[in-house]
Amino acid sequence: MTLIPKHPHLLRAYGDREGDGMVQMTFTLRISPGAQAKEVAKRFAEAHGLREPLISAMEECGPGYTYFVAYGHSIHHVDVSEVDVPEVKMEDLDKHDIEERIEHQIGRKVVVVGACTGFDAHTVGIDAILNMKGYAGEKGLESYKWFDAHNMGAQVENEALLARALAVGADAILVSQVITQRNSHKENASALITLMKERGLRERFVMLLGGPRIDHKLGLELGFDAGFGPGTLPKHVAAFVVQRMMERKQ
């Protein structure tokens, strides 16, 4: 079924035919299973914009709680032409390519310093990128032969981060911000850029910002070279740093 005439800019969910808007949704409601519960679930799905919802599963998942699987035709669409997201532009390189590129084109180890700044005590992001352990099976920058990675951990003051970056001759600084209460992530990050500009140090480093609520757009707005969000792998960060260093060299 076609809910809305095709239009190249208007995107609908795709099931097995253009424009059918088919989506699947699972959710839990505090109600026991039964005919009433099924109708409730249907209306719940309809309230989310699903037309002709089919409740394909209804099972009690805890005393008095029921989980549902619903299929339906979503009435919603998105106009792609209205969506503008700056993306980090870089080549898709793997660890091996990156190592080779550093060896042959830079000829020395790339030094990076990373920290969670301000009050933020959550090192999960910076650890995923820098530590040996890495993330999703991808080892962190510590495991790269041609990277010298310094992880300062959590609750690091901007001053201390900058001092360490200067002391070890860092090429890049990685700032991780997990906590977003009262926009503290934005304030900490932009305060660091302000501090660097005051000292005339901004152009000396490749500046990267990362965190679950960070994207490239926000990174750029706050004065960084790039912003990295959830799902970022160590190799993405590595590739970006190397690419930006090469650009600067030229």
Partner: protein, 517 residues
């Protein structure tokens, strides 16, 4: 029945090497105590309470003695001496020592014999408290019965202990046999145990005595309601591992995550501190017949599951040797391992099947803890569910004892009610569908599975030989386990390690070591 060939000579050699490694450390342990051990002794004597800053009395007490460099006598010495000097009871004695105006000194006419005599009743009461809790649990287990292995183990992690209690009951309703309450981020590094109920924890709730009680109550209700005994788990790890073990013992927990080396490797806790603390914690655990879960699964989150499989096995031998030295029986020694192999590797399933079978055969009486994939989980919940199914199939085929169920929302959020339900449902399906698969099949002679088992065992004996030659201290500092390197004097908590004096008094430890009633 599916068995991998096992060269018992090599297995015996592994045990001999692990025993030698543990003995070397045990000599150190027997000469030392820590602030954590002494606080545990004080807690066992019934000393409780916090000041208006939330600082536990046991911390004030032990820190004050430690500040005078007298902790090598043992906190029991000072408590006993205070009784001899007129304190009406142990709680009062502790308060006098912790908050009294005069400085604590080491001098006095009191003899060791006098001290031990005056503490005798307190020691008896302390042990009775633990023994009663154990007996209540064992009676309840016998009355209600336990589920078949593998026990289905799930996690709740709302951050609010009252919500955790609701979720724990829901999980039991869905068929969970064991419920673990996730601990708040970084409690391992706190050198005190927080007090009271947690309602706003980050990433979990604190391990506190009150929180233990709340969840126990919920699971007791669930046990009665569903007619089968439901087990409770928490974490005896970090700087307070022995204090938590004591609290778990008296609050009737059934399992504790407890490892001889985890804190060193993954929490950067000083190795001297950890080795001394793990020993005392395990003495309490042994007395209480709590099942420990060791942490070898973590090795494969940092190291590669294929390259480092033998480090898991070697560590299991070491954990076993340490646990035996603390009196933990095999049937309470839940050695851990995990399905952390790269799922896209050819024959990844066969390699995990081989390792799980190998561990099962080498440790036949141990309640082996089988941990699900996490490292290669990405947020594709549908694929994740299939990945967990393969893990379940290994679990049932090789007869693992305790299985932490994989969650399809791993790598996204802590499990939702629905996630846990679906995980339990598919696990039940696979356990039922393949219940006797392991009894029906045999592995091909010299095939991939058999060959892999031989390789892993041989690599484990090689590693243990090296570790035995160099000592565990040097081995850890060279990164023998989990690719993590830690030094003898590095890490947190070293300042809390004290050499025991000749006249060290710890009648609770003496009783636990003597195994007396």
């Amino acid at each position: 029945m599916a068995q991998v060939p096992l060269d018992m000579k090599v297995v015996d050699e592994c045990r001999r090497l692990a025993a030698s490694i543990a003995d070397d450390v045990q000599r150190f342990i027997d000469k030392h105590t820590t602030v954590g051990v002494e606080r545990t002794v004080a807690r066992a004597f019934g000393i409780e309470g916090v000041d208006d800053q939330g600082i536990p009395l046991v911390n004030m007490l032990v820190d004050r003695i430690h500040a005078q460099k007298l902790l090598g006598r043992g906190v029991a010495f000072f408590l006993g001496r205070e009784l001899l000097r007129g304190a009406p009871n142990l709680q009062d004695a502790a308060e006098r020592l912790a908050y009294g105006r005069s400085e604590i000194t080491g001098e006095g006419p009191e003899t060791e014999a006098q001290i031990n005599a005056v503490l005798e009743q307190g020691v008896k009461t302390a042990l009775k408290h633990m023994d009663d809790a154990r007996d209540t649990r064992e009676a309840m287990k016998a009355r209600l019965g336990m589920a078949d292995n593998p026990w289905k183990y799930v996690i709740v992690a709302t951050g609010n202990i009252y919500d955790d209690a609701i979720q724990a009951k829901s999980a039991a309703h869905g068929g969970a046999d064991v419920v673990a309450v996730i601990r708040a981020t970084a409690q391992s590094l706190l050198d005190y145990v927080p007090h009271g109920a947690t309602t706003e924890g980050y990433g979990g709730t604190y391990a506190t005595q009150e929180n233990f009680k709340i969840v126990r109550r919920a699971l007791d209700e669930a046990s009665e309601e569903f007619g089968r005994y439901c087990m409770q788990t928490n974490y005896s790890s970090g700087l307070c591992m022995s204090e938590i073990a004591y609290m778990a013992a008296v609050e009737r927990l059934d399992m504790l995550l407890n490892d001889s080396m985890y804190g060193i490797l993954f929490r950067d806790i000083n190795m001297q501190r950890t080795f001394v603390d793990q020993y005392f914690s395990r003495r309490l655990i042994a007395r209480s017949k709590i099942i420990i879960n060791t942490g070898e699964d973590n090795y494969l989150t940092t190291a590669d599951a294929v390259d480092a499989a033998h480090t898991v096995l070697a560590s299991q031998f070491i954990n076993e040797a340490f646990a035996h030295r603390a009196g933990v029986a095999d049937e309470n020694l839940g050695l851990g391992h995990a399905y952390e192999i790269n799922p896209w590797l050819e024959d990844s399933f066969l390699l995990e099947l081989s390792q799980a079978q190998l561990v099962r055969q080498i440790f036949p009486n141990h309640p082996i803890k089988w941990m699900p994939p996490t490292k290669f989980k990405t947020g594709d919940v549908f694929h994740s569910h299939v990945h967990d199914a393969m893990f379940n199939l290994v679990g049932i085929t090789t007869k693992q004892s305790i299985e932490l169920l994989g969650m399809f929302s791993e790598a996204i959020h802590t499990p939702l009610l629905m996630d846990r339900y679906l995980s339990l449902k598919s696990t039940k399906y696979i356990y039922t569908a393949a219940k006797h698969l392991g009894d029906e099949i045999e592995f091909k002679k010299d095939g991939i599975i058999e060959t892999r088992a031989r390789v892993v065992l041989n690599e484990a004996v090689e590693l243990l030989t090296t570790v035995q030659r160099d000592g565990i201290w040097d081995s850890i500092s060279r990164g023998a386990f989990a690719d993590v390197k830690r030094t003898l004097t590095g890490g947190k908590g070293l300042a809390g390690v004290v050499e025991r004096e000749r006249a060290y008094v710890n009648p609770i430890l003496s009783m636990l070591e003597g195994g007396a009633a």
